[in-house]
Amino acid sequence: MGNFLNWVNDDMNNSLIRLNNVGKEYLVGEVPIKAVDGISFNVEPGELIVVLGPSGAGKSTVLNIIGGMDRPTSGEIWVEDQNIANFSDRELTLYRRKKIGFVFQFYNLMPNLTALENVELAAQISDDPLNIQEIMEAVELEHRLHNFPAQLSGGEQQRVAIARAVAKNPLLLLCDEPTGALDYQTGKSILILLSKVNRELRKSVMIITHNSALAMMANRVIRIKNGRVERIEVNESPESVERIEW
């Protein structure tokens, strides 16, 4: 019921992203397993969205699909009036390049490139990259530019990953459990950074987490369970991260 109301309420033509009954099915041996079973929601420009749900609910799968890293087996995903569900490999590659910035739980930095080089790697394939020096300052890593990932702490690595994602100047920043491997303090600082990116750089940010306390920082909270949207909540006035305790 909540789904339907939200869908009706939102102005469809202004939405950044529209998922329409998206499904993802795997065949494990002979048995089909539905990781995502008919998910629909919208992402408005400039929103910070938190996707909540227990482990195995299908959150990562949805993020991967939105990020063009996986293909749905059913449904449509409209991004700026194009249905990426039908994109060819090449089109998906360009989509990822130009529209998406992805932050992984385990950073996935190139081990043999420095922090600066890792960010440059992304910047150089973008049409309109942001200024790298500024980004590095924004993530407070201006003194660690020439260190290799192995020489950085978890938090620092994640910041490099965020810088890398943001440098491309994407439409949408997708973060899959970005604080999963970090302690409370560090995790919090990462989330502060992400909301900074959302507010100051005006980028739509989507964060997956299983920590329900973080719902307070979002403009929109999407709760997913068993591959379906359980409910969608809209926050009129999101909390700033510093004030959230968990």
């Binding site: 996986d70 590659t93 390049r97 930095l109 043999n112 790697l121 394939i125």
Partner: protein, 795 residues
């Protein structure tokens, strides 16, 4: 793309051990291929240049005695480019107390550019002074320490004629200095070529205005066989004895055979080697790149295209390929020169300049680059086909099933934890174990094949000179003797057994196929010459009919029961112009194994009958009480006027071993290269294994395994895989040897496939030693695994 190159460069630097070992395999493969082949090419090129520069004849015609104008008759043929008339005669000489034979050949009185010319090495050509000036071939000259100004006194028509040595020469006609097809090995001391002024030669042999040899150079494009038939018809009325094509000429034929054998001995091996190297490179690159799975996925997620990613990894492969090919080629050229010089100690060909064979380097490099490139491309292809999400997910572990060995409870309980890990790894990751093994299987096979070539050769010599030729001395007479003449020899001190032998050249014909070989007539129950079959079992010589060697049987297409035409090549016996009348039809009674030379065997009496003589013989085989006494016996034998030559087995073996030096050397190189490859492969594989398992090993270290426990874990697993791989390799190696030896056989020599237990043991020991050595060297790597760093990555 500059950043990706930086990544490439740093990746290589980090895993330099692995890349270095791939490089090593590549370098060895290319080097060996280029080196061996270019040495052979150079040899071929040098010889061809030599033959052309000194106008080696295409066709020899020998007459009893033909008038000089026959030369112009021959020149009249359109096919003939040039023809030179000569006088050729073999004479006896005693020099330095030894008996020898000189082949006297005439050369133009004044320096000219005739057919079968000579290359002046020292001294000068004939001058218009003394008529008895002579030029001596280099080998004989050096063997007897001659100097210009020395005198030679051969026995010519019953008189001792003085010849004055004025120079030393070399001739392409006698690259291999063999007197006739009975000689298997050149004996520079006992056979020499001496060139005389034509006018002088004609005078002393009573050949005024006549010649007995015409050396013919044909125009390019002429079919020599056709021409041979044509000219034989024309020259019959001049007292033609026979014609010989270049390809059948003794020296050329033997040299070609050598070259052919060297080529095939080393011919296929380098290619095989290169292919093995390429396969190993492929497998290794594949693994290296697959280990970069997550990075590939990340690049894809960032939005790099497949093309960009593939190019990046392709460049890994190509960088290695390029560097390896370059280094390998350089080393290869160097090796080629070295080998060429080694081979040439036998032939003493003039080597003015040696070419660098770019047409060898390029295929080898291309092949290597191709395999590297293929590896790079294929490895990425798999990762790039799937969506990034999947490639970044750690590979799902295989469905874990209890392996069969675990099901045997009582056995499984007995293993300690380390062994459980090892066995599980082996059984679960069969693919990885197999890929590891392939490298070892191939290098073991190559090594065994190379060792086997050596043992086969040793067997060949042993067999021939211990089991077949059981005599100590072989005496040749200058005429046919009757059995009663043997008595004197039998009474000589130290002689324990004497057996007469009738040996002469024959031409065997089966339909359109024919071959000139030696026919050896043995006495009944010969103890000094044992003919064997391919199993090494003695074969009885039949009363009638002949035995032929296996190779002869193949050449003539004749099997036991078939009839062959036998035409004796006995001087004086076949001056009958009608060839066919001299031929007899003889039945083949059996096929024997013969590794050196090519002969037919029959009973002494039977051979005599072919010549229409009674039981006569022209050779005897002697057995002495002690081989050391041979010198004394030889002296007495030489004193006999009927004795033409004495061959000592010990000396013959020494000569053969010298003749085979080149072959032995090539094989030595093959063994060394195989060993080197085996080591590189083992090192390669071990490095990659450790690198792939570093997370696993780091975890063990964290858990509390000591360094030596981890060492054992890795070591033991490697040992088991190695042991199994060696087993397969030995098996494969035997077939490889069969194949290589078949390829290496020529008319003069063919090799039985002999692998002694020693070869197997040596191969096993070597490969194991390399494995142990590689493991020891790399042990440090295991110790140095940084637990923290290795565990940081999310794989």
């Amino acid at each position: 793309m500059e950043l990706l190159f930086r990544k490439l460069w740093r990746d290589i630097r980090e895993a330099k051990g692995q890349f270095a070992s791939i490089l090593l395999v590549l370098v060895i493969g290319v080097m060996f291929y280029t080196g061996l082949n270019s040495a052979l090419r150079n040899l071929d090129y040098a010889s061809r240049k030599y033959f052309t520069s000194y106008r080696l004849a295409d066709l020899w015609v020998s007459f009893q005695k033909a008038p000089e104008n026959v030369v112009s008759r021959i020149q009249a043929f359109a096919e003939v480019k040039q023809v030179t008339g000569r006088v050729v005669q073999d004479v006896q000489i005693t020099i330095d107390g030894q008996d020898a034979v000189l082949r006297l050949i005439s050369l133009p009185d004044r320096r000219d550019t005739g057919v079968n010319d000579v290359m002046l090495q020292a001294g000068r050509y004939f001058s218009s002074d003394e008529s008895n000036q002579c030029l001596v071939d280099e080998a004989f000259f050096k063997a007897h320490g001659l100097k210009p100004g020395d005198r030679l006194q051969p026995l010519i028509s019953g008189n001792l004629i003085k010849l004055k040595v004025i120079g030393m020469v070399k001739s392409p006609e006698y690259l291999y200095q063999l007197r006739d097809s009975n000689d298997m090995v050149p004996d520079a001391k006992r056979f020499g070529i001496v060139y005389l002024k034509k006018s002088f030669a004609q005078a002393i042999f009573g050949f005024n205005g006549s010649i007995n040899d015409a050396s013919i150079l044909l125009n390019p494009g002429v079919d020599s066989l056709e021409f041979q038939a044509k000219i034989e018809k024309t020259l019959q009325r001049y007292g033609l004895i026979e014609t010989t094509l270049k390809k059948d000429q003794l020296s050329y034929n033997t040299f070609s055979g050598d070259l052919e054998q060297l080529t095939s001995l080393s011919g296929f091996f380098p290619i095989l080697f290169l292919i093995v190297a390429a396969t190993i490179i492929y497998i290794t690159m594949n693994r290296l790149i697959e280990n970069q799975r997550i990075q590939i996925g990340t690049l894809k997620a960032l939005g790099y295209t497949n093309f960009q990613i593939t190019s990046h990894y392709l460049s890994y492969a190509l960088v290695i390929g390029l560097i390896g090919s370059l280094i390998g080629s350089l080393f290869g050229i160097y090796l080629g020169r070295l080998l060429m010089v080694m081979y040439n100690t036998m032939y003493q060909l003039p080597l003015e300049q040696m070419k660098s064979h770019f047409d060898l380097i390029i295929p080898a490099s291309i092949l290597a680059l191709f395999f590297c490139g293929l590896a790079g491309y294929n490895s990425c292809k798999n990762e790039l086909r799937i969506v990034p999400a999947e490639s970044m997910r750690p590979k799902a572990p295989k469905i874990v099933v209890k392996t069969w060995i675990e099901k045997i409870d009582w056995l499984w309980q007995r293993f300690n934890f380390s062994w459980k890990i090892i066995l599980r790894n082996l059984f679960r990751y069969k693919k990885r174990a197999m890929l590891t093994s392939i490298g070892i299987i191939f290098s073991t096979a190559l090594l065994l094949a190379a060792l086997g070539m050596n043992t086969s050769m040793v067997y060949l010599i042993t067999q021939q000179y211990t089991n077949v030729q059981k005599y100590d001395l072989k005496v040749g007479f200058n005429k046919l003797l009757a059995l009663t003449d043997i008595n004197y020899i039998q009474t000589l001190p130290h002689v324990t057994r004497v057996e007469p032998v009738l040996g002469y050249g024959v031409e065997l014909t089966n339909g359109w196929r024919s071959k000139k070989v030696g026919l050896t007539g043995l006495t009944s129950h010969s103890q000094l010459y044992q003919v064997m079959d391919s199993q090494g079992l003695p074969v009885a010589v039949p009363e009638r009919g002949i035995l032929i060697s296996e190779r002869l049987s193949q050449t003539l297409g004749a099997i036991p029961g078939d009839f062959l035409q036998v035409r004796p090549l006995w001087p004086g016996k076949n001056d009958d112009r009608d060839r066919d009348r001299d031929s007899k039809n003889i039945r083949v009674r059996g096929v024997v194994a013969q590794y050196i030379g090519e002969s037919a065997y029959a009973k002494l009496n039977f051979c005599g009958a072919i010549l229409q003589e009674g039981p006569a013989f022209n050779q005897v085989l002697l057995k002495l009480d002690h081989p050391q006494n041979q010198a004394k016996v030889i002296v007495k034998l030489k004193a006999m006027p009927v004795v033409a030559s004495v061959q000592s087995k010990i000396d013959t073996v020494a000569n053969i071993e010298k003749a085979m030096e080149n072959a032995v050397f090539s094989i030595g190189i093959m063994i060394a290269a195989s060993a080197l490859l085996a080591f590189a492969v083992v090192y390669n594989i071990t490095t990659i294994n450790i690198f792939e398992r570093r997370r696993e090993l780091a975890t063990l270290k964290v858990v509390g395994f000591t360094n030596s426990e981890m060492r054992q874990l890795v070591f033991n697993e490697n040992m088991i895989i190695t042991a199994l791989a060696i087993g397969c390799g030995l098996f494969l190696g035997r077939y490889l040897l069969d194949f290589l030896l078949q390829d290496a056989a020529t008319d003069n020599m063919n090799f039985p496939t002999i692998l002694t237990p020693d070869s197997y043991i040596l191969a096993v020991i070597l490969v194991f030693t390399f494995t142990i050595a590689a493991n020891l060297i790399l042990m440090k790597k295991i110790h140095r695994i940084n637990m923290v760093e290795a565990l940081k990555s999310s794989e």
